[in-house]
Symmetry: C2
Subunit: 155 residues, 2 copies
């Protein structure tokens, strides 16, 4: 078996929601506070030229025993099909990693002001990348109807 | 200081490139082989309804000493500005996490056939998510000219 990978959070989400509510995340403003013991402000030099961030974070409120490897209906909705955890973006997933695109409102030293980050107060942040449209999908994109329905009120 | 987070790869990239060449990744087909000791095929049930994946992986060929926390010119290009590591998507970054969107060609048990995954043979995979267009940026997207230039030949 391959060795485990050990990561240290680069910072934490501060403010915003304190409970993981499913929907309407674009109404939430929060901060990402980068670890000032490890980083100087040069790590975010030029970041304000980007309108959006891709944030990689760790769902630390999910326990390993929460992670269900069986197929299930997303949000328990009986009208949706049973799908596997890697065909969903649910948080109770192996390695408990979230990836989300949010609006960057401003940069002040190592404090990033963001809107629409679907991670709650205290969430450990593993990486921040500038959102680059060219990194998106090439070719026509296809997704099932249940996912479109699920996303209707998400932001 | 917050405790470290320990992750186990869910699988590995097999095939494709053996060297991290900068550009033309859409010409590369590869497999993602999920760990059959941990997972059954139900973890990918319904995944074939999606045309693209968002793959989270670990740049295991980058050493911690490769990670440069100073601002620098991407790809050493003298015409581009000095920017911080969190304003770039370069691989030599804290926690060495890559996130990339690729085409899903097919699913066979725990083997996923993909195109345009910018990760080399042997790369540990940390997560797979279906690519969901609604998860993309809300509002107008802005990026600096150097990034658009860098991405010109990327795929």
């Amino acid at each position: 078996m391959a060795p485990s990978i050990s990561l240290d959070p680069i910072g934490h989400v501060r403010g915003g929601r304190t409970e993981p509510i499913d929907d309407e995340w674009d109404s939430v403003d929060a901060m990402i506070e980068l670890d000032e013991k490890r980083f100087g402000p040069e790590v975010v030099a030029g970041l304000d030229e980007f309108s959006h961030l891709d944030v990689v974070f760790f769902f630390d409120q999910v326990t390993e025993s929460d992670v269900n490897l069986g197929a299930r209906r997303p949000r328990g909705n009986p009208e949706w099909p049973e799908v596997g955890i890697f065909a969903q973006r649910a948080k109770a997933r192996p390695n408990r990693i979230g990836v989300s695109t949010c609006t960057l409102l401003g940069v002040d030293g190592l404090s990033l002001s963001v809107r629409g980050l679907d991670a709650i107060d205290g969430t450990p942040v593993l990486d921040i990348k500038p959102h680059v449209p060219e990194m998106g999908p090439r070719g026509e994109v296809r997704e099932p109807a249940w996912m479109r329905e699920l996303m209707r009120d998400y932001w």
